[in-house]
Amino acid sequence: MKLDVILRVGTKLVLPFILLFAFYVQFHGDYGPGGGFQAGVIAAGMVILYAIIFGLKAAQRVIPQELVQVMIPLGVLVYAGTGVVSMLLGYKFLEYTGFAQKFLTAHEWGILFVELGVFITVSGTMSAMFYAFVGRGR
């Protein structure tokens, strides 16, 4: 891979834009198409591209295996935790009304947190699956 200058430099150029696009899709999710799942897959795509071009070891230096393993339950915890917080505020599970004064703002906040949880879990799971496949047989 040492000789593929175009690939290596090109990848480095593209990586930040992939992440940016992932965040765009993430934060656009409560208004239009997009959301945590799609954004998570795009973000994981960045990790996968990096691993393909620079090797698994380099990718795991940036996003370690341990981090990926923690991300999977952590995202679900953020999601479920949003519901628990709404219960503690005196509303039903995943009822966002208590998060802000205005009904719509409250729901926007609620969806934002839930989508954040989805993003963390999906990107973690995608990366973990890729690591598991690539790491086989070493």
Binding site: L74, A80, F93, L94
Partner: protein
């Protein structure tokens, strides 16, 4: 006073907590990655759940009203609603009680059979599976039930694959294929129902099904077929049972113990819920021959699986085949399509769970001591592990249906159901199939008690107290449920009546 305040504040949230607590527990188990700590957390959650579901069962029985909970406060046909009526409260209580009673057994058994770095993942999967099964039982939404079905199934595949034996992977894969086909057929059925009724809520579908049937009956019939076959795969009804013996035989002992008592029961619950609450009794049992098909397959399973059990050399596989045969009884009770038959079926869900869990607990203890469950290696264990094997014998007698045990009660009600229909052949078949179970249980008893100890059994002794305790609790429950039927038939009978009477 403080406690009462907290209880009244938490009580409205009981339906969601039953699913939420194991789910959160699973996440924490995945995060902490310490085997013993995970076990402690799992045990704490597992012991809180039966309290919650027991209180709900008590409430439902006392007031006769259903408990509902709207997720996110979205109203019934639009949002997901959790609904606890007599039927779901019964199955919820059963699953949570089994899930709690077996927890003391788990620590040593899991520590012995599963590598230390995987133990925490195992408890994660256990709690996820528990959350899934409880979710199936509590939800009032057809698609939500599918999601929970998948959660419980996926975690089950992982639990089975964690078995020590190399064939565990193959067994898990086999179940993965079959289970996925089952879930797919179920969701195809739900999709058809959605097309004709425009709803996913069980009650809402039920109320719209009549007009939909009058307009176009084809899709409804097809949906009924898809759903019945899909869930039969999950139940391991006779020709669709092939995955079960291997899955039970090669899974870690604790996983087998848990799955044998709960997994197929939740699928049975879902089938009963759909056949009776959603389709109403007329569509499946009068317009379509679903009742007769279930009857025939139940009968076939009772015999063929029992015969397979007689010739089995691996004790775990023998009990697994016996599970398929016992599922036959339950499905037979549903297929009889009368109150006595359904009462027997529902009571047998409880009784079979108690007995089979006890039997697999005993085999789990054997694995813990001698590391094998081949029939040849078990010889003479009765004298080496007396406490384990006496409990095994008690639960085994329950399985045969000897009077004074839980098994007798349910067979009695099944016989009553068949007599009401005037089907003497089925009465005869129930008795004959019980005799076959006497043969296979007798075979294993003979090996255990009347032979010289094998080389493997020579040094065996009873397992520690923590492992014996759950076994004896369930073995004594087998006898208790044989005399005091308030907990099984007493709950099942009004539920069965409501299922037949409530829907016109």
């Amino acid at each position: 006073m403080m406690g009462a305040d907290v209880l009244s504040a938490v009580k409205p949230h009981f339906p969601i907590l039953v699913v939420l607590l194991p789910l959160l527990g699973a996440l924490f188990c995945a995060l902490i990655q310490r085997g013993t700590l995970s076990w402690l957390l799992t045990a704490c959650i597992a012991f809180v759940l039966p309290v919650i579901s027991g209180l709900m069962l008590f409430d439902v029985l006392k007031t006769g009203q259903t408990i509902t909970y709207e997720l996110g406060n979205w109203e019934a046909p639009f949002g997901i609603v959790y609904k606890v009526d007599g039927l779901s409260a019964l199955v919820l209580t059963l699953i949570t009680v089994i899930g709690a009673v077996i927890m003391p057994f788990a620590r040593r058994s899991v520590a012995y059979e599963i590598d230390s770095h995987l133990q925490s993942w195992f408890y994660t999967m256990y709690l996820l599976c528990l959350a899934g099964l409880l979710g199936i039982t509590i939800t009032g939404d057809a698609f939500n039930a599918f999601v929970f079905l998948e959660i419980s199934s996926l975690s089950t595949y992982v639990m089975i694959a964690l078995g020590k034996h190399r064939r565990a992977l193959l067994a898990s894969y086999q179940y993965l294929i079959m289970g996925t086909i089952g879930a797919t057929l179920y969701v195809v059925g739900i999709g058809l129902l959605y097309v004709v009724t425009g709803s996913l809520n069980f009650d809402d579908i039920a109320s719209r099904l009549g007009p939909a049937m009058a307009e176009r009956s084809g899709p409804v019939m097809a949906a009924l077929g898809f759903i019945t076959v899909g869930l039969s795969l999950k139940i391991a009804l006779f020709p669709m049972h092939v995955w079960l013996p291997n899955a039970y035989a090669y899974a870690p002992s604790f996983a087998t113990v848990f799955l044998a008592g709960t997994a197929t029961k939740a699928a049975i619950y879902l089938l009963v819920r759909l056949l009776f609450t959603v389709f109403g009794t007329t569509v499946p049992f009068e317009s379509m021959p679903v009742g007769h098909v279930l009857l025939a397959l139940g009968l076939a399973g009772m015999f063929i699986a029992a015969f397979a059990a007689v010739f089995e050399e691996n004790a775990k596989r023998m009990l697994a085949y016996s599970s398929v045969s016992q599922m036959g009884y339950i499905v037979l009770g549903i297929g009889l399509a009368n109150v006595s038959g359904l009462t027997g079926a529902l009571a047998h869900i409880v009784n079979h769970a108690v007995m089979k869990t006890a039997l697999f607990l005993a085999l789990g203890a054997v694995v813990y001591r001698i590391g094998t469950v081949r029939l040849g290696d078990l010889s003479g264990l009765g004298r080496k592990m007396p406490w384990t094997m006496v409990a095994f014998a008690i639960a085994g007698m329950g399985l045969m249906g000897i009077p004074g045990t839980a098994g007798f009660i349910t067979k009695w009600y099944l016989v009553l159901g068949a007599l009401e229909k005037g089907w003497w052949v089925i009465v005869f078949a129930i008795v004959l199939s019980s005799l076959i179970s006497v043969v296979y249980m007798g075979r294993i008893m003979e090996v255990l008690w009347f032979r010289e100890p094998s080389q493997a059994a020579e040094k065996a002794k009873d397992p520690p107290m923590m492992m014996l305790l759950p076994l004896w609790v369930l073995a004594l429950a087998t006898i208790y449920l044989g005399f005091d039927t308030r907990l099984s038939v007493g709950v099942a009978a009004p539920v069965a009546e409501a299922l037949f009477g409530g829907i016109k």
